[in-house]
């Protein structure tokens, strides 16, 4: 699953550490999310969506291959 997390974070000018603290996850999780190695749970996806005030589907791009 592709995502725009890194772009959105850089637009807001916040560090991975800060975002991790806001979302209550580890910095390593943010790194893995940005690199597309890890797909978030629905709860974390909602938290990200609410923080950036953007719908989930605009942050995470679902691909058929993800099945």
């Amino acid at each position: 699953m592709l995502n725009k997390l890194e772009t959105l974070r850089k637009q807001r000018d916040i560090t991975q550490e800060d975002l991790a603290e806001i979302l209550d996850v580890s910095r390593q999780t943010i790194i893995s999310l940005e690199k597309g190695r890890y797909n978030p749970s629905i709860t974390l996806a909602f938290k990200i969506s609410r923080y950036f005030k953007i719908p989930i589907e605009e942050i995470f791009m679902y691909e058929e291959e993800d099945l």
Binding site: A20, E21, D24, V25, S26, Q28, T29, S32, Y38, P40, S41, T43, L44
Partner: protein, 141 residues
């Protein structure tokens, strides 16, 4: 004050555990007559358990206090870390089952029947528990 007294308690537990662990060994070395096997095993078991328990409690109290507490809690509750722990635990479990089965087989070949049987029973119980819990959580979630 309370934290410091807790630390002292765990350090005391570690020292006591070490003393209990070393007592039968020192008695044998100093020639004061070796204690019976059962007493040796009891001392070693209690000493070892007390030492490990106190050490873990001391580490836990150190981690949960001070600056690292918030970071520790975040790391502990982090969903990715939880998945990693589940995966690592699952793979470790499978590897240990295979490893213990090999040991049971070797014991059987060496004619150590009782240890082999006990190990086989433990393995069967472990596998049965795994299946039972999987079924239980399958129905609950």
């Amino acid at each position: 004050m309370k934290k410091s007294s807790n630390c002292s308690l765990w350090i005391l537990g570690m020292i006591l555990g070490l003393v209990l662990f070393l007592t039968p060994l020192i008695m044998i070395q100093s020639g004061q007559g070796s204690p019976s096997k059962i007493i040796q095993i009891i001392f070693l078991f209690i000493g070892c358990s007390l030492f490990v328990f106190s050490l873990l409690m001391l580490m836990n109290s150190q981690i949960k206090s001070g600056k690292g507490a918030k970071k520790y809690n975040a790391e502990l509750k982090d969903e990715r870390n939880i998945i990693i722990r589940y995966k690592a635990g699952y793979i470790t479990n499978i590897v240990m089952i295979i490893f213990l089965a090999v040991i049971a087989f070797i014991l059987l070949l060496l004619n150590y029947l009782m240890p082999a049987i006990l190990l086989a029973i433990a393995l069967i119980l472990q596998s049965a528990t795994l299946l039972f819990l999987s079924y239980y959580f399958n129905k609950r979630m």
